[in-house]
């Protein structure tokens, strides 16, 4: 079914590459491995991790991008989480936030729940859906070279950007960030808003 793992990108390495030059970019993660991948690349108050709310990552990113138009906003999520929020691709496309990039780490499986096959390994093309929804810039990344070319664009090119990165299902080391909701939201708001976070 899936190509040999050795030919696919490693999700941790791909995430770390994109975030290497993030500067003050804000990051929202979809539940599960995407949250762990971003945490493994370096926990910071500028990360807001979803540990639930499946299907909501792209829309949390949209609201944040509209509220902080001067900041870059990156959403990292998985193919299953993105499938649950397909309508949000239409909403994001209509609103056209130029500071938002959505990155789907696509292993074509529900890795957290027993590695059940997902839709994207069985003919569903997320990039095709994004393009049909109106995204002007939506691509699939399959190699190191493509990732190197795409990574700087994710932080600087005019959004909204939609990027699917095909990744392996290889096991990854445990990397659990904080999961206490009030802590995560308060430290994020303080980091973004300063003293206004408490007004």
């Amino acid at each position: 079914m899936s190509p040999a793992p050795s030919k696919l990108l490693n999700r941790r390495a791909a995430t770390a590459r994109i975030l290497r030059d993030r500067g003050d970019a804000l990051v929202v993660t979809g539940l599960g491995n995407s949250t762990f991948d971003v945490a493994a690349a370096g926990d910071t108050p500028l990360n807001f991790y979803l540990w639930g709310a499946m299907g909501g990552a792209a829309m949390v990113g949209l609201g944040l991008a509209l509220a902080q138009p001067q900041r870059r906003v990156l959403v990292f999520t998985g193919d299953g989480e993105m499938m649950m929020g397909l309508g949000s691709l239409a909403t994001v496309s209509v609103e056209k936030p130029d500071n938002l990039a959505i990155i789907v780490l696509d292993n074509e499986h529900y890795a957290e729940t027993g590695m059940q096959p997902g839709h994207t390994g069985r003919g569903v093309d997320l990039v095709g859906i994004a393009l049909a929804a109106g995204f002007a810039d939506a691509v699939t990344i399959r190699s190191e070279q493509e990732l190197e070319a795409r990574a700087p664009k994710l932080l600087a090119a005019r959004g909204p950007l939609f990027t699917v990165i095909k990744v392996a299902t290889d096991p990854t080391p445990t990397a659990l960030p904080p999961r206490d909701g009030p802590y995560l939201r308060s430290r994020f708001r303080e980091a973004v808003l300063g003293v206004d976070a408490h007004r």
Binding site: A53, G56, G63, V192, A197
Partner: protein, 202 residues
């Protein structure tokens, strides 16, 4: 009979194209008070609402128009209501206050997404135009009309009800304070008796 079915289909504003704003004169609600949507709008301005997320509903059509016309508000048409719960959580994380406008039939769509608000104590202000209660003709509206309040409360939200036009604004004001100053999810149910009973036969 055919005419009745056709007008019922076109009359349900939730399914109207998002690109076109509902025409306030096109809805078939009766007994619509001219002022209560404007009063809500003024409360939203006073509460410094910056993002408005909505699934179109005839009961909210005037308010949606007012919000779209306000340069200080970003109004976003959703494909489904839970998108708005997530979007407004992101908005608040970035310093913007928001409001979700929906119909009672959309409340059920929001339930799991409200875990964002309950677990993270992120504010949510939601204004729910009720269907499926006072004088409802469409039986398919009854289930969520009946269960909207219990569903919201079960998901951790606080619920206020306005059943007279004069009660709407003060409920919205109190809900905004509870939401944004006490960091809670708060919904105001605007009763069908306020909005008016919908008629489909012309």
């Amino acid at each position: 009979m055919l005419t009745c079915v056709r007008s019922a289909v076109t009359g349900v504003a939730r399914s109207s194209p998002a690109a076109e704003l509902p025409d306030r004169n096109a809805n078939s609600y009766q007994r619509m008070s001219a002022s209560w949507p404007q009063h809500i709008f003024h409360e939203l301005q006073a509460a410094r609402i910056r993002q408005v997320a909505y699934v179109p509903d005839a009961g909210h059509s005037q308010l949606i128009q007012l919000c779209h016309a306000d340069a200080g508000m970003r109004s976003v048409s959703l494909t489904t209501e839970e998108e708005g719960v997530a979007m407004l959580a992101g908005a608040w994380l970035g310093g913007d206050r928001g409001v979700l406008l929906l119909q009672s039939s959309g409340v059920g769509n929001c339930i799991n997404m409200l875990s964002l608000n309950q677990e993270c104590r992120i504010p949510l202000l939601a204004l729910v135009a009720m269907r499926g209660e006072w004088g409802e003709f469409n039986p398919w509206q009854i289930p969520m009309g009946k269960s909207a309040q219990a569903a919201l409360e079960g998901a951790g939200a606080y619920v206020y009800r306005a059943d007279a036009p004069a009660d709407v604004a003060e409920n919205v004001r109190a809900a905004a304070i509870l939401a944004f100053q006490s960091c809670r999810a708060v919904a105001v149910l605007i009763g069908q008796r306020v909005i008016g009973t919908k008629h489909f036969t012309k």
